[in-house]
Structures are given as C-alpha cells and as structure tokens.
Amino acid sequence: MASTDIFEYRIYEKESDLEPAMALIDQDLSEPYSIYTYRYFVQQWPNLCILAFNKQADKCIGVIICKLEPHKTNANEYFGVNKTVLNRGYIGMVAVDPQYRKQGVGSSLVMQALDAMKKQGADEVLSERC
C-alpha cells in the first residue's frame, strides 16, 4: 500500500479496525448504519476495505469500503455481446476526517480501491453518485 511521510494505508485486518472506520463514516452520513452493514462488507471483501492512518497521531483518518460481485447485464458494444455477467465493483462508503481533507487522502483511498478491484477482475465500478 502506498504511504507518505504522514499517512499509511492498509487493508482491513481485524474487528478492532471496524470501530474507527464506523466512527469516521457515521460522522458524515445522514443516516446511521448498523454494525451489520459494515460487517456485510468487511467480512466478504476485507481487502476492499482500506484504511488510512496518520502515522504520527496513530489515528485512523480515512476509510473506503467497497464490494465486488457478479452482475447480470444486457449485451452491449463496450463489453461484447457474449458477456452477460459483469464483475461490478461498488464503492459503498468513503470518509476522511475533516482535519485531513484536501491532502489527497480520499483520492489515494479511491485509487487504491480501484486498483484492488481491477486486480480482482472488476469490469466496472459504481458509486452512489457519479
């Protein structure tokens, strides 16, 4: 995972990673998610949950949570007429601590997530708003 002087990135490893991730996301979302929503993602796609840490403060300051699963589609020009099932990635949640915004943390998280999904064979990636 790419790192800088200040920030370190790694994938979700254990249950204790969930609490700071949830705290970050709950801060900015309009509706609270239950822990089951988080577990739905991280249990099935742990390597698509990436956390950003401030090395000096030893604090989680950013998180991205995604999934990747097959999705039926109609034949189209781009993917070819024979391809009726696409591997569709989905960026479920992205959050960066307000104190650390505009420093490229969000961009890094998204790019690393996209890289990971591409390596796992994603044909397309969606998010809530484009």
Binding site: S3, K14, S34, Q103, G104, R129
Partner: protein, 748 residues
C-alpha cells in the same frame, strides 16, 4: 455458521429449530442469557449469518440496544423523564416561556433540515391529539396553558402546516434539503388560520394584563413574532398575496427581540425518544437543537431573504432581470434556507404559469425574443418541452449548492439535444448558410447552455471540489469556454446590428457580452496566476507531497505520466466532452494551449494577469454603462449577480499590484525563474527519477554531465522553494464570494 458447527445454545436460537407461529397464543421469552452463553464461544470478529444475507438485510437490521438505531430502547433516565409528563399540570408564565422557546428552537431546527421526529414532534403538548376544550376560554382553570401556551403552539402548528404544504410542491430536494420521513404530519389540523389568529389575540390580551411580569413580556414578543410569521406564510400560500406577505415579513423584522431569559424548565414535556412511536420511520442521527439566538437569527434571515427576493421578483419585468435575480440566489453565501428557495421558485413558476399569469411557453418565447433579440416571426418552434427545460434552468439556481452543480452539469445534455433540434428548425426556416442564417432559437439555447456550463464549473470552486493543483486546468478550460461565449454573442450581435429597430434589444446582448468578457478576463488572470503557482511549486499535486519512499516515488511517477494526466483530464471534463458545442478541447489541444505559456517567464505571467484584470474591470464598467438604460432594480440585480466577479477582480488587482511593485522578480537570483513551464515539468520528472533511483539503492550515475545537470536542477528547485517561503508567500482563499480564488502575495 458457514462451514462450522453451532453450539447447543446457538442451535436453540436457530430459526430452523422451532416452528414459528404468528398467533395470539405466542409467549415471549427472555433469551438474553441464552444468547450470552451461545456467543461466549465465538472469537472476536467471528460472524454467524444465514447463507443469503443481502445488503438490504444488513441495512434494515438494527443492533438491539444500540441507542442510535434501537429507537425503542429507553434508559432509566428516559423512563423517569417520560413519567413526569402531565398534561393537566398547572403552568406558570416562566414555564410557558421555557416550553415556547424550546418549541421555537425545534421549529427553526426543523427548517435547518432536521426531522420532525427530532424537533416539533418531541413536544407532548403538540402531539396530544385530543386537546382540552378550554383552550382559549377565559374560564379555564389552567389559564397559562390554555390562554398562552396553546395559542402559541397552535400558531406554530399552522406555520409548520404552511411550510409543509410548500415543501409538497417539490421545488427543493427531499433527502438533502427537507427531511420528510415516513410520517403523516399533524399540525393542529382542526384549527383554521382565523382560529389561530383569534387564539393569539386571546394570548395577547391575557399577557398585556401582566405588564410587570418579565416572562409575560417575553411571551408577548413570541406572540407578536408568531402572528406576523403566520400571516406572512398564509399570504404567501395564496395566489396573489405576495404584497401582503411582504408587509407582514417587514413587521416581523421590526419586532424587538427582548428575550433575556430562557424560562423555567418543565420535565416530561419534551420526549426526545418519541421516534419509538413511529416504527416505520427510519432512525436519524442525533442532533443538537439550534440555540435560541441562532433560531431567532434563522427566522429573521428567512423573513429578510423572502422580503428581498420576493420584492425583487415583483419588480422584475424582463426575462433578463429574472435571470440575474436567480443567478444571484445561486451564488449567495450562505445560501437561503430551503423554505425560502422553495417559495421563491413557487413565486416564479407554479402549475405551468410564470408569476401567476404567463404560460411557460409564452415565457420561453419572450426569453428568446428578449435575450436573442430575435424577431417574432422566428419563434415557430417553441414547445412545451423547451418551456419546461427553461423552467428547470431557473429551478436549478434554487437548489442547494452541491445539487446545483450536479443537475446543472446533468441538464447540459438536455440543452444540447434541444439545440440540435432547434438548429435544424432554424436551417429549415432560413437556409443552411451560416453567414445568412441568424439561427435565432438555437443561438438562444446555446447561450443558456453556456451559462449553465460556466455556473456548473464555478460551483465546483465554491464547493471545494478541486484541489489547488487542478486550478490551472479548471480556469484554463473555463477561459476557452468563455472565449467561445463572447464569440457567440458577437455573432448574434452582428445580425441584430443589421436591423436598426432591434437596437434597444442589442443593449441586452451587449450586457451579456460585457458579463462574459469580464468573466473571461478574470478567468484568464486566475489561470495565469495558478499556472505561475504551479511552476513555483506552490500548487503541488498530492502525490508529490511524499517522504521519498520507493512506493511513493513510483506512484508519483505513474500519476505524473501522460496516461494518468489524460485520464484525469477526461474525468474532470467529462460533462463538457459529451456536448456538441462548444467544441471540446481534447488533451492534446490542451497541452498545445498550455505550451503557449511556455515562453512566458513567471514574472511575465503575473504581469499578463494584471493586464487581464484591468480589461475585466473595463468590461464590468461597460456592462454597468449598458445597464444604465435599464431600471434601477434591473441594474441592481445585474450588480448583485456580478458582485463576486467585481470582488475577485478588485482584490486580485490589488494583490498583483503590490507584488509587481515589490521588485521580487528584479533580483539576480530570481532571473532563474525564467525557466519555462515545460522545463519546470521536465525538472520535476528528472528529480523524481533521480530520487527513485536513490530509493531503490541504485548506484548513482558516474556521468559527470548528468550529475551536474541533476545538481543544477535541485539547486533551481531549492532556490524557487526558498524564494516562495522567504520572499513571496502565496496563499489563496475563496472567502465571502467563493466562486473565484483571491490570491495574496506577501513579501516579508
């Protein structure tokens, strides 16, 4: 557990182990101990789930006893608080004051997009459906409750009802501006407006008898405020009541807000966990109610905004004037509350009529006639679709900031499609020779599309969508768009100038031209300054802010490489690339455009920027001069819409003037800043490669020439960084008018 074996305790909890019946004979069992025993053997993070546990299942689940989601969970303190509720409690004036002020806070917090279930509906007096028959009756044995508190609450309820009905027009967006939730609201529906006003009169009469009581005097203030707000809302909801509404809103602003105490707390009145009674409503995040002062400021600001904006709408006669008003609303900071924006949109267009009288089609025709200075015979092809798209153009300006940008960029496609159809119609009417065909209708559509495109791009600056290293691209591209805009208006003017009877209408086109030209010159200045900042290493892409680790350097090289640049360019300008016009400047074209700046030294860039700002000021003055023939309100609307441009031009002019006078660029050391943009980029790439080689442990080159070159490049970079930190501290902000960056150059 998938692939595993359930222990005995968990086996008992499995849905497959017992037959589930849904009958009145079901006996509820406490399974707390069973769950506790069963889960002891699970390790941290281990998960039991059914084979098919979907995202929908996850999102509709709650964690029992999680206070954020388990709305039915009440603590001991909650139970104690709820037990205090007593509708028959005999209230005193201080208690009534406290309850009224808390309700006022609830109401204003609701206006700030909170849920009813977290605000208004927390009040038990409000949600108690069966009210005492003695409300408003002097014989009541609970006079403060029935003659003071309930009138204020009924007035509040009716105000909420008017606001709710306005939101029902769907001028603002449900999930972002207004929290509806799955609640059928009840706002004292059994009372009419005249009932509410009568009750407020009763309250006023009661309170005026208690002149020596401070709480009574403050309650009187609340009664007056409530009356004017209620009457203002009532008039706003009627078809032709705007004038009377403005009078009431003016009176509301004149009420002296003499609230010095918050009253005496009454326990049990507000049930913060009332959401448990509405199981179909989704849980929301806990909120803090706005303070009394903030609530009052919100109300007064709403009244002020409504008074100003509705007053401006009343005075607007031309389509041009209306466009300036809505453009000014869009860029206002802070934005008006959702209710205000909704009312303004309703006042503009409701049920297919513009300002209550003109049909949308007729308004669209007038728009083309006025703005494009087209002759009447040119308007054969104005249809309902075009009219609705025009109404949506106005509606876009009344949305919240992020939504404005999203739908502005989304609607571009509709305008583009309309333009293609209109062009064909214009060709059918006037032939295909562009030198002879004025393309009246499609020209107007193109003009409106350009305005939307420019506003969408600038909204990104306002919303901090772009990082600073993207500023050169943003303002560089916007400069090209505005150049196309000015050229388009020049073309339209050339046809109008041919007809002497169109001269008055040409003035309107001249104003639009002055506006576009001023923004184009300002954009050019912003581009040149941003480009200079990039060369000076002030604007640095995030991947260049690294420790020098191998992976960071590799990532930086990859992201600096041309494929990544192309991808970023395509992504940022995706909305523009899909349009038929203006012609999309592809990445290679963009590189060629930027290369034109290559011959400029950094000092030259700042001087050219200063000259561009001067031209922007002249264009703004031209616009005002052309506007002097308009009415005073129209000129005022033009100035309001261009206030951010004025501010940015003047502020950046002053900054640049100080910079150029400071002789920072006159010293010998800064002569090295003559390095061109292309060379600066090569310098950066060269140093990256050298750093990466070092990080990878590769032996440094023994080629003396190369070593000398790298050393010289590093020295140049260090000199530039030192210059910026010691001599020239550059910063930028958006501040009060967030569309345009304001630069500050400080020479210590």
């Amino acid at each position: 557990m998938e692939g595993g074996h359930l222990n005995d305790n968990l086996e008992q909890l499995s849905l497959e182990s017992i037959a589930i019946k849904d009958s009145q004979d079901d006996v509820w069992q406490d399974i707390t101990e069973l769950v506790d025993k069963g889960t002891q053997e699970l390790s941290s993070g281990q998960l039991l789930k059914p084979a098919y546990f979907t995202l929908f299942d996850a999102m509709t689940s709650i964690e029992v006893m999680d206070p954020r989601l388990d709305m039915g969970m009440l603590s001991k303190e909650d139970h104690e608080e709820i037990a205090q509720w007593d509708i028959q409690r005999k209230l005193n004036l201080h208690e009534a004051l406290w309850i009224s002020l808390q309700m006022f806070r609830c109401e204003m917090t609701w206006h700030m997009s909170a849920s009813l279930l977290q605000t208004i509906y927390t009040c038990n007096y409000f949600t108690q459906y069966s009210m005492d028959q003695m409300v408003g009756e002097e014989e009541s044995d609970n006079p403060v409750r029935d003659l003071v508190l309930y009138p204020i609450l009924v007035g509040t309820g009716l105000c909420c009802r008017y606001v709710w009905n306005e939101y029902g027009r769907e001028n603002v967006f449900r999930e972002e501006d207004v929290h509806f939730g799955a609640v059928s609201p009840h706002f004292f529906d059994e009372y009419s407006q005249s009932d509410a006003l009568r009750l407020l009169d009763v309250a006023q009469a009661y309170l005026e008898q208690k002149k020596d009581d401070e709480a009574a005097q403050q309650l009187l203030v609340l009664v007056h405020v409530r009356r004017h707000w209620l009457q203002g809302l009532a008039w706003l909801s009627s078809d032709d009541g705007n004038e009377r509404a403005l009078e009431e809103l003016a009176r509301l602003q004149q009420v002296e807000w003499r609230i010095s105490e918050s009253g005496q707390c009454v326990r049990g009145v507000f049930d913060r966990k009332c959401m448990r009674r509405y199981p179909s409503a989704a849980p929301t995040k806990p909120i803090e109610l706005a303070s009394i002062e903030k609530s009052y400021q919100t109300l007064v600001q709403m009244a002020r905004d409504l008074h100003e904006l509705l007053g401006a709408l009343e005075q607007a006669r031309s389509v041009e004037h209306l466009m300036y008003i809505f453009q000014a609303i869009a860029i206002r900071s802070p934005q008006p509350e959702p209710f205000v924006r909704s009312v303004v949109m309703s006042a503009f267009e409701r049920d297919g009529r513009v300002r209550g009288s003109e049909s949308l089609e007729s308004f669209a025709r007038r728009a083309i006639l006025e703005v494009a200075a087209a002759p009447t015979k040119a308007l054969s092809a104005v249809d309902g679709e075009m009219a609705r798209v025009l109404a949506d153009w106005f509606r876009t300006h009344c949305q919240n900031g992020p939504r404005q940008r999203r739908i502005a960029l989304k609607y571009l496609g509709m305008w583009d499609a309309m333009q293609a159809v209109a062009e064909q119609n214009d060709i059918n009417a006037y032939g295909g020779d562009p030198s002879q065909n004025p393309f009246w209708t499609s020209s107007w559509i193109y003009l409106m599309k350009l305005l939307l495109l420019e506003e969408g791009m600038l909204a990104g600056v306002r919303l901090c969508v772009y990082l600073d290293y993207e500023m050169p691209l943003l303002f560089g591209y916007l400069t090209q768009v505005l150049e196309a805009h000015v050229a388009h208006i020049d073309r339209m003017l050339s046809f109008v100038a041919q007809k002497s009877d169109q001269q008055p209408r040409a003035m309107q086109l001249l104003r639009w031209r002055a506006s576009a030209l001023a923004q184009k010159e300002l954009c050019l200045a912003e581009w040149l300054i941003a480009h200079a900042c990039e060369r000076l290493n002030v604007f640095v892409a995030p991947w260049h802010k690294h420790s020098g680790s191998q992976s960071a350097l590799q990532a930086a090289l990859r992201l600096d490489a041309e494929p990544a640049q192309r991808a970023r360019y395509a992504l940022r300008l995706r909305a523009m690339s899909m349009l038929g016009s203006p012609s999309f400047l592809n990445f290679d074209g963009w590189k060629a455009t930027v290369a034109q700046l290559d011959e400029c030294r950094i000092a030259d860039l700042f001087e050219h920027a200063s000259a561009a700002l001067l031209r922007a000021r002249m264009a703004l003055d031209d616009g005002r001069r052309h506007g002097s023939s308009s009415s005073d309100p129209e000129l005022a609307a033009w100035e309001a819409a261009h206030k951010p441009v004025y501010h940015a031009v003047l502020a950046n002019s002053v900054s640049l003037s100080k910079l150029l006078q400071s002789h920072v660029f006159a010293t010998a050391a800064t002569a090295e800043l003559g390095v061109t943009g292309d060379a600066a980029q090569r310098n950066r790439l060269s140093l990256l490669n050298a750093d990466l080689n070092a990080a990878q442990g590769m032996q440094p080159t023994t080629n003396k020439k190369k070593l000398k070159k790298i050393k010289r490049e590093r020295q140049w970079r260090d000199d530039v960084n030192k210059l910026v930190s010691d001599k020239l501290q550059i910063s930028w902000s958006t501040g009060k008018h967030p569309d345009w960056p304001i630069y500050t150059f400080i020479d210590p």
